[in-house]
Structure formats: structure tokens, C-alpha cells
């Protein structure tokens, strides 16, 4: 009796659920995009947060002076409908769109940018991205507390619709920086209503309080579940916006995300699980997207280490790696072997460097450095953060170095924060690393290896390299600038404080219903161009 009742209950429960219409199918009718967004965003304050999930959310809800071009290349007008650059490349005058307004109906004026940039540069706010505005005259001094007078910073509102910006150097990529969320305006009265200018914990970003100026509005925010944004009718270009809603899901587990996509719960995923990628490539999965991405996977060498300070050894290590084999047999998801630090093709920049796979040359270099056939060479340690992909690459590198150079290599994997702490304190020999560009320009890569940069971490200092980057910064001639940068890159690769391994690709799944979505190096997909159609 009981068993019968129980089975009946489960049967009804299951049949009751039945095959229902999936979110992807219903999204098509209701124009709702279901978006796999990686992890729960830290927050929605553009001056506080860092990270990719936050970027996806903020480009839909706020807008800077320019927006990233969905097809890559030059930025498009955002709040600024046009701009004029002075002949010396140091003064920018932006003419703001007169129809630009905040989501509460207030007009968006040039003063909003001045106040917002003052906010991100206020030291006590503790913003992690103030250096995006360090290109402005006086900005670094204000942020570092050398002066308290914001009028010394190179940003002025000439009138409500004209903003003048003065830079330290001609910065050809400055327009590209302005689509980064750290340069977005925030609504002064809303921020101040919920706290002071430097309040990190103000509640102005909560649904109901949030005011911004992008194509979408914050509708609901359920922690670790979803964030829903809906169309902002007051956006200056609202006619172009075809989506009614975007639902962002913080799915940190790759396999869960993959199953959600397969069950029709997502239009787009954040990643493809490592083990699934080769299978999907082989099966010609029509939803799989593998696109160029502006990032480099490399090994960082501690050049202060007694053995690794010898550049012949660093080069020997680099030349003993068969990168083609690594991308074809180990990472297996469309990555490209890397022979430079800057990914080729970033804003028309093609690095002219070579890192040959030449075991004989590598052995000769090692022998020159006093270790013929690897004899007497100490056991090398490769540090990486715990992740299967990193482990596989490290295993391949270990095997190649052992085979081609005759040296012993030990693998050390650590929890993410321990790995970071060891890198920061120089407590490593070789560590795996990755760098993703913040904007489409070689400077975002090459600048990190200048001597006083926190992200250098290799201990490598080179005056000539620094001078070349300084020269590149000072010129307003783009071809001359690229020439200096190429020379700097050649110098970098000849010194090898970092060993490039592969250029990243973006791998994810995209429903065929999603249109207006184009591959681009920074993987920025502005919601105003996206629509759903079958």
C-alpha cells in the first residue's frame, strides 16, 4: 500500500514537471538573454570593483565617454558624441551628448565626470583601479596625497556639455581607456545620499537605489543566484537596444554551467570545461566559440635567483620548450603558441620576436652557463596555483626540460592566495602566470615589466627597456611609438624574464539565437548591439 502511494507520488511529481519550455526558448519570445557570468560580482560600484563578471554587468548598466567597438578596433562614442585632440596629443576636449541622462531622469553633465574622477582618485576610497587615470596631469599626485587640491588635476568642465582633459603625455590609447568601467561616471547625489564620497560600503548600488546611465537598469540582485537588468528607456540610444532583459547567473562551476547550457537554461556560457573542449572540437559542436583573446600565458622567472639571474639559462629554458606540442597535445582548445609577450595583432601591433624551439641551442647556452648536459644544475621548482590545466602544462614543461636539458624539475601547486603571496614576495623560481590586457594596446603588456611596477614580480630591471617605453610614451607619432615598443619587446625577449607559452583564446558556448555578438580581442560584447533571433 505504502509503496504504491509513494511511487504514485514520485510519478506525479515527475510528470507534473513534464517537458516545459526552456528559458532559452522563452527568452527568444520575451527578448531575455540568459548569461553565464562566472562568479558573484564583488559589487556594482564601478570605482570599487575589479574583475570580468563586474565588467559584464557594468557595461550594460553604465556608460563612459566612449564604448568599446563590438567588432574590435577604435572605440565608439558613448556619453561623448565627439572629441577633439590637440596637435600635441595632450589635450582632449569631449563634447557630451545632450540627450545623455541618468536613469532617474537627471541630465548627465560634464561636472558628473569631474566629480566621479575625483572620487576614484580619492585615496581614502581605496579604489583598486586609480592608475587608469594616472595619465591625467596631476592625478597621481592627488591620489598619492601629495596634493589635496583637485583643481590641479587635468580635468575641467568647460560647460555642461564640454569636458577638457589634460594628459602628462600624448597617450594614443587614452580613448580606449574611457570605455573601462573605472572611468565611468557615478551619480553624485545618489552616492552622497547613501554615504560619503569615499564610502566603500554605501548602499547606493542596491536595486531601488542604483542610478546609472547605461542601456539597462538594475532590476533585481539576488546574491549568488542572479542579477536581472532591464531596458533603460531613458538611455540616449534606447531605440537601438533590442533586449528587454538580461539575466546574469554567477555560475562558478564550469560543469554546472555546461549542463545549464545543454538544458537550454543559458544563451551564453562563461567558459567551456577543460575536458570538454577537445570533445566539442572533435564533434564540431555548433555552439562552441573559440576566438582570439588579448592574453598571454607565460612562465615568470625570478631573475634574482642565483642561477636564474643568468640570462643564458633563462633563454635555454625558453628554447627547450616545444610550444606547438603544448597547444596541440596539452591545452587542446585552440590556443596559439606564443613567441612574444604582447599577443600579435593588438591594435595593429605585430611584435617582431622569435623564440625558437631549438634543443641544441638550448643545450649550448646551458653548457656556456656552466652546466653541460644539465650536470650540477639545481632542481628547479615550478610554482602554479591549483588547477588541472596549469598542472598539465607544468607536467609537459617538466618533461621537456628534463628531456632537452637534462635538468630536474619539481612541481609545486598552491592555493590561489598562497601562490599570489609567494609570487609577490619573490619566494619562487619559476611561476606560471597569465596577463589579460585592460585595453587594446601593447602598452598594457609591456608597461608591467618596467622596473617599478608591482606586476613585474620577476626582479628584472633594464634601463634601456624603461627608456624605450618612456620614449614611446612621449611621442605622438603612432608608427614611431610602435617602433619603440617593438624594440622594447625584442629586448624583453632577448633577456627572457618571462617565458611566453601560449596566447589565450576565449572559449565558450553561444546559442545560435544570439545575434549582434562579434568576436573581439577584449571579449567585450556591448548589450546594445545584441539581439535574439532564430
Amino acid at each position: 500500500m505504502k509503496i504504491k502511494q509513494l511511487s504514485l507520488f514520485f510519478l506525479i511529481a515527475l510528470v507534473g514537471c513534464g517537458k516545459s519550455i526552456s528559458p532559452v526558448d522563452s527568452g527568444l519570445q520575451e527578448k531575455i538573454l540568459h548569461f553565464g557570468n562566472g562568479s558573484e560580482p564583488q559589487g556594482l560600484d564601478p570605482h570599487i570593483v575589479t574583475g570580468v563578471p563586474e565588467h559584464h554587468l557594468l557595461i550594460s548598466m553604465c556608460e563612459g565617454l566612449t564604448i568599446a567597438n563590438p567588432r574590435g578596433g577604435e572605440n565608439l562614442p558613448g556619453v561623448a558624441e565627439s572629441w577633439v585632440i590637440s596637435p600635441d596629443g595632450k589635450t582632449y576636449t569631449f563634447y557630451l551628448n545632450k540627450n545623455a541622462m541618468w536613469s532617474n531622469g537627471d541630465a548627465l553633465i560634464a561636472d558628473d565626470f569631474v566629480w566621479s574622477w575625483m572620487r576614484i582618485l580619492t585615496p581614502s576610497l581605496g579604489s583598486q583601479y586609480p592608475d587608469m587615470l594616472y595619465y591625467l596631469k596631476g592625478a597621481a599626485d592627488f591620489h598619492q596625497g601629495i596634493t589635496q587640491d583637485f583643481s590641479t588635476v587635468g580635468v575641467k568642465a568647460i560647460n555642461d556639455h564640454e569636458l577638457r582633459v589634460e594628459l602628462n603625455n600624448p597617450t594614443p590609447f587614452f580613448i580606449k581607456l574611457l570605455s573601462h568601467y573605472s572611468t565611468y561616471p557615478v551619480h553624485k547625489n545618489t552616492v552622497l545620499k547613501h554615504g560619503s564620497i569615499d564610502d566603500r560600503n554605501g548602499l547606493w548600488t542596491r536595486p531601488g537605489n542604483f542610478v546609472c546611465n547605461g542601456p539597462m537598469n538594475l532590476k533585481t540582485w539576488e546574491l549568488n543566484k542572479q542579477i536581472i537588468v532591464d531596458k533603460n528607456p531613458l538611455y540616449w540610444d534606447a531605440d537601438k537596444v533590442k533586449l528587454n532583459e538580461i539575466r546574469y547567473y554567477p555560475v562558478s562551476n564550469e560543469s554546472t554551467e555546461d549542463r545549464m547550457f545543454r538544458a537550454g537554461q543559458l544563451h551564453v556560457t562563461n567558459v567551456v570545461p577543460l575536458e570538454k573542449c577537445p570533445v566539442y572540437i572533435e564533434n564540431e559542436n555548433p555552439n562552441l566559440r573559440i576566438e582570439p583573446y588579448m592574453g598571454t600565458y607565460f612562465y615568470r622567472v625570478n631573475t634574482l635567483h642565483p642561477v636564474l639571474k643568468d640570462k643564458r639559462i633563462r633563454k635555454a629554458l625558453a628554447f627547450a620548450l616545444n610550444r606547438t606540442q603544448i597547444v596541440e597535445r596539452v591545452s587542446k582548445c585552440g590556443q596559439q603558441a606564443a613567441y612574444s609577450f604582447t599577443p600579435p595583432g593588438s591594435a595593429g601591433y605585430e611584435p617582431d620576436t622569435e623564440v625558437p624551439f631549438d634543443p641544441e641551442l638550448a643545450q649550448a647556452l646551458l653548457s656556456d652557463a656552466g652546466y653541460p648536459n644539465g650536470e650540477g644544475f639545481p632542481v628547479l621548482e615550478i610554482l602554479f596555483n591549483t588547477q588541472e590545466g596549469h598542472r598539465k602544462i607544468a607536467l609537459a614543461v617538466q618533461q621537456m626540460w628534463q628531456q632537452n636539458l637534462g635538468i630536474s624539475v619539481q612541481l609545486v601547486n598552491q592555493d590561489w592566495k598562497v601562490y599570489l603571496a609567494r609570487e609577490m614576495t619573490g619566494d619562487f623560481q619559476i611561476s606560471r602566470a597569465g596577463w589579460i590586457g585592460d585595453y587594446e594596446d601593447p602598452n598594457t603588456f609591456l608597461d608591467t615589466l618596467r622596473p617599478n611596477r608591482g606586476n613585474n614580480k620577476t626582479g628584472w630591471e633594464n634601463k634601456e627597456y624603461d627608456d624605450l617605453l618612456e620614449l614611446a610614451n612621449a611621442t605622438n607619432d603612432q608608427s614611431l611609438r610602435y617602433k619603440y615598443l617593438m624594440q622594447a619587446e625584442q629586448l624583453l625577449i632577448s633577456e627572457m624574464p618571462i617565458i611566453p607559452i601560449y596566447t589565450y583564446v576565449r572559449q565558450y558556448q553561444l546559442s545560435n539565437d544570439v545575434k549582434g555578438w562579434y568576436p573581439n580581442l577584449l571579449d567585450t560584447h556591448h548589450p546594445k548591439f545584441i539581439y535574439l533571433e532564430r
Binding site: L6, P23, Q128, G145, N201, K225, R259, D415, L420, G454
Partner: protein, 307 residues
Amino acid sequence: MLQVILKRVAIAIPVILVVASLTFFLVRMAPGGPFDAEKVVPPQVMKNLNAVYNLDAPLMIQYRDYMFNLIQGDFGPSFRYPGRSVTEMIFTGLPVTFELAFYAIIVAMLIGSFAGVIAAVKRNTMLDFIPMTIAMIGICMPTFLLGPLLVLFFGIHLEVLPVSGWDSLAGDKILPSITLGAAYAAYIARLSRGGMLETLSQDYIRTARAKGLPEHQVIIRHALQGGLVPVVSFLGPAIAGLIGGSFVVETIFQIPGLGRFYVEAAFNRDYTMILGTTIFFSALIIFFNLLSDIAVLLMNPRARSEA
């Protein structure tokens, strides 16, 4: 009994304070800080951030301040999520985790005690061997295997249930509840079988049978109360375990519960969040253990008189 409860509560307070202190110093001993990231922030920014969160003060001063706030019920702000207090995050995730644990325990109790009782009554028959073998497999099978298997079958192959979510799509609570409940169902099946076997061999059961009561009445009226005592004493720690151990199921099914916050806080070195959740879970475990002890006292006259 009131005395027992008061005594236990009096012990609980220093236990929680010790847990808080130990956790405070242990998380600080772990390498890496809350603001370390792949892109290193300039030293000035790090200085500002440390100042904002009082991390530039000497450790003992930070400890004093933290304990002072804790006693007033303030867990502080989350370091990882600016604008969110730890209390707010705990009370956002807790109802979901509670609900998940509640359904899981119902699944576990229904399946487990039913299988256990049948196995005990039909001892050494197929109705004993089959459920007990399944129970053994259930205990051994980890949730990270069972969950995806259920999802593949019901969600992707049959397309009758959603593969993830909580309170978003119809039926999205079924698979997580079964996944989380399954291992506990297996334990309960074995415990209730053992308890029932012991009870069924007691004199009072023989008396009940001798009086001519039908077998189902003997079992339901007389044997169950004694037979399920081991299950009841297991329930307290089980519920606490379900709440604290729901992380895997919450991750597999994308459930916005407390378990995910807890584990992610540890990875992110979100000091206040780690402390808050640890203290909270400790209090919960103590509370549920106390509850199950009280339930045992109510069900078992001998234990009651000893207390």
C-alpha cells in the same frame, strides 16, 4: 531537564568564544590577504585599503576590536563584497540552506527509516539484502558523483527536471534534495535497521505479540519508538552536517546557499566572512546537538531518569 539545557548553554558560550579566537588567529596565519590579486595594486592603494578595513592596526588591537563587536552581535563588513555586512550575507544564504537541508532530511528520513524498518522486519530476506546493499552504495557514493548523474538522467536525457537553480524553475528543488538526502538516507537505513532489530528482540515486543496484536501494530505502536532512538540522536549532528556540508550540492546545482559563501570566503581570505560563518556554524552544531539530546530524553524514559 531545564537544568540540563541551562548547563549546556552555559558551556556553549565559552566554546563559541574559543572557536572565534582560534579562527581569528588561524586565518591570519594563512599566507595571502583579502586584497591580493593577480593584478597587483599599487602600494598606495594597498595602504588605503588596509586603512579602510583597520588591517593596519596591530593584530591584538584588531582582535580586541573584533571580539568587542562580536559580543554586540556585529560580524563586521565583508572584505570581498563591499557594501555587504557578514550578517546580511549569512541571513541571505541561510534560509536557502535551511530549506535545502529540510527537504534533504525529509528525503533521508522517509527513504532511510522505511528501508531500515522493512529490512529489520524482513531480516535475512531479499527485502533486507537489497535495501541494505543500496544503502551501502549510497554511503559510499559522493554527492559530486550522484548529483551530476541525476542531472544527466533527469535533466538532460529525460528533460523532465531543471539541471540547476533554486526557486527559479518548476521542480528545481527535487534533484538537489534527493542528492543531498541520499547519503543520509543510507545512514538512517542502517541505523534504523540496527535499532529495530534490537528493539524487536525485547521482552515487551514478545509480550505485545503474545497478546495477539497484529504485526503492523506491534511495529508501529511499540517497536518504532525504541527502534528509531539511534536515528533521532543521529539527526542533530546530521542536520548540522547537512547545513555545513551542503557546499558541494549548492555548487553542483547553483543554489545560493550559505555553504558556497563559506567555502568561497576561505578561498578569498575574506577574514570577517570566514569568522562569521565559522562562528555561526559552530553555534548551529551546538544547537542541533542540544535539540537531538532533548529529543532523545523525551523518547527514552531511562535516559530521562538518568538526566
